[in-house]
């Protein structure tokens, strides 16, 4: 049976909400307004997402910092208290286990927020399977809070203004990729981080599982007059796509290195030893084999995941994600293609869309940028 978030019962209040199986979770692909309207409300105003399916894992104890600094390729040592950090998490061969957010309370306490579909795999990897936990005697304590913690994401250019009215003016002082855990919404204790997956200003709000329906209704009731809408997974995907934020299983997998996915910015190769470092350093020295590029269709059609990419008749890669961008009103795709092709922006590639070879051109990414 599919898993459900504590908000499952409120979905039925929205006429036309459509539920799908998303990595084993029964979640709305859209609410009443449809994917495009829900996409636009986040770009222009603000929208609320149920992201209770995300996994949460705490790491506590005096070896937490050293452990996470080894576990993750990004620089955990450089984090300040109450800061968030995005990082891929790699196997020793450089392939990606998952990508996640690290929340630092202090050197001895961290919260990791991981993808729902990877949560059990991640917990096993972090607590049992990596080399560090196999050999180090003094381990941090781990707890999987995925069943007890729930979250909503409130995203859009107006989100700061609205949230400050509900959670206090302190919201305005939360910097990008920082969080506070001393604020309340309608009397409910929350962790509020200025983070998100839309390319807009926005917040992720974590509460106890039992409180999420009340936080959800409070936010939507308070902002209804302002046009705020609940937003489903369909728009979550098109929003993250326009902003070129990777989605595990598409742009990142165990067979795609984070350097190939152009996440070099989040890989600190100067950092101390970390899991996957040798493989990634070697890959960088020998030449990164593939590169994640953006393209826009010249011929009409939607480049969907898995479609083959060609250059002058030779297969050079595949599409990782594609859709019609609601902001640009153009058919766009992310393609993982060989790096040494010498292609520049504007150069033509071809994509096999259901047996027809269609022309596309490489374009700048993110496809859409607001902040």
């Amino acid at each position: 049976m599919l898993k459900r978030t504590p908000l499952f019962d409120v979905y039925k209040d929205y006429e036309g909400a459509k539920l799908i199986d998303f990595g084993g979770w029964e979640l709305p692909v859209n609410f009443s307004s449809g994917i495009i309207a829900e996409h636009m409300v986040v770009r222009e105003n603000a929208g609320l997402f149920d992201v209770s399916h995300m996994g949460e894992i705490t790491v506590e104890g005096d070896t937490s910092e050293a452990f996470l600094n080894w576990l993750l390729p990004n620089n955990v040592l450089g984090m300040k208290e109450n800061q968030c950090l995005y990082s891929p998490m790699c196997y020793s061969d450089g392939g990606v286990v998952d990508d996640l957010l690290v929340y630092k309370y202090n050197r001895n306490k961290y919260l990791l927020v991981v993808n729902a579909s990877n949560a059990s795999k991640d917990y096993k990897w972090i607590t049992q399977e990596n080399e560090w936990v196999k050999k180090e005697p003094n381990l941090p304590e781990f707890e999987n809070l995925s069943e007890t913690m729930s979250s909503v994401a409130f995203q859009g250019p107006k989100s700061t203004e609205y949230l400050a009215e509900m959670a206090g003016a302190e919201v305005k002082d939360i910097d990008f990729f920082y969080f506070r855990d001393d604020l309340k919404i309608n009397g409910i204790d929350c962790i509020i981080s200025r983070t998100g997956y839309t390319g807009e200003v926005g917040y992720e709000i974590y509460v106890d599982r039992k409180d999420v329906p009340s936080v959800w209704s409070f936010i939507l009731d308070t902002t209804k007059d302002k046009g705020v809408l609940p937003v489903g997974l369909g728009a979550r995907d098109t929003l993250r796509f326009e902003s070129k934020l990777p989605l595990y299983g598409h742009e990142l997998t165990k067979d795609i290195s984070p350097l190939e996915a152009n996440l070099g910015y989040f890989i600190d190769l100067e950092n101390d030893d970390f899991c996957g470092k040798d493989a990634l350093v070697k890959q960088k020295q020998n030449g990164i084999p593939r590169s994640l590029r953006g393209c826009e269709m010249i011929d009409k059609g939607i480049p969907r995941e898995g479609y083959k990419v060609f250059l002058d008749g030779k297969e050079v890669g595949h599409v990782t994600s594609g859709t019609k961008s609601p902001m640009l009103n153009k058919f766009c795709g992310l393609v993982l293609i060989k790096r040494d092709l010498g292609l520049k922006l504007g150069d033509e590639i071809q994509i096999d869309i259901k047996g027809k070879i269609k022309k596309a051109k490489l374009v700048k990414t993110p496809f859409y940028k607001n902040i």
């Binding site: 449809g34 994917i35 259901k354």
Partner: protein, 126 residues
């Protein structure tokens, strides 16, 4: 759910409007609703010979592509070029937005299609 009485329907949620020897084909209101925002319709080529139940084209919503099958055999004689740049017309008016028209080679194939009552019953069971 909107199901006009003067049309015929398939189990694949296509509708057919017959004008003389030509069958105009679109997708039902139920189908457009299930697909959600439609962002692209690939129009078939005129003069293509097609068999009943053969895939004629694809409709793409934001999330997925769905095939449209020809309910009847014959030759494609018209396509709705308005959909080329305004595929969302199918969302706003599914029955006013035909996708392609087939000059039928065997009109008796229409007999196997559902009328509005049968389609309504079919939807309730589905």
């Amino acid at each position: 759910m909107n199901i006009p009485g003067d049309l015929k329907y398939t189990e694949g949620h296509e509708w057919v409007r017959v004008e003389g020897n030509v069958a105009y084909v679109g997708i039902s209101d139920h189908a457009q609703h299930e697909l959600g925002d439609i962002v692209y319709v690939e129009l078939p080529e005129i003069d293509t010979e097609i068999d009943a139940k053969e895939e004629a084209t694809n409709i793409e919503s934001v999330k997925a592509a769905a095939p449209v099958y020809s309910p009847v055999s014959g030759k494609i004689v018209e396509v709705n070029e308005d959909l080329e740049d305004s595929s969302e017309l199918i969302n706003s008016d599914a029955y006013g937005s035909y996708i392609f028209a087939v000059e039928m080679s065997d009109k008796s194939e229409l007999d196997s299609l559902m009328d509005a009552d049968a389609y309504k019953e079919f939807l309730e069971k589905e």
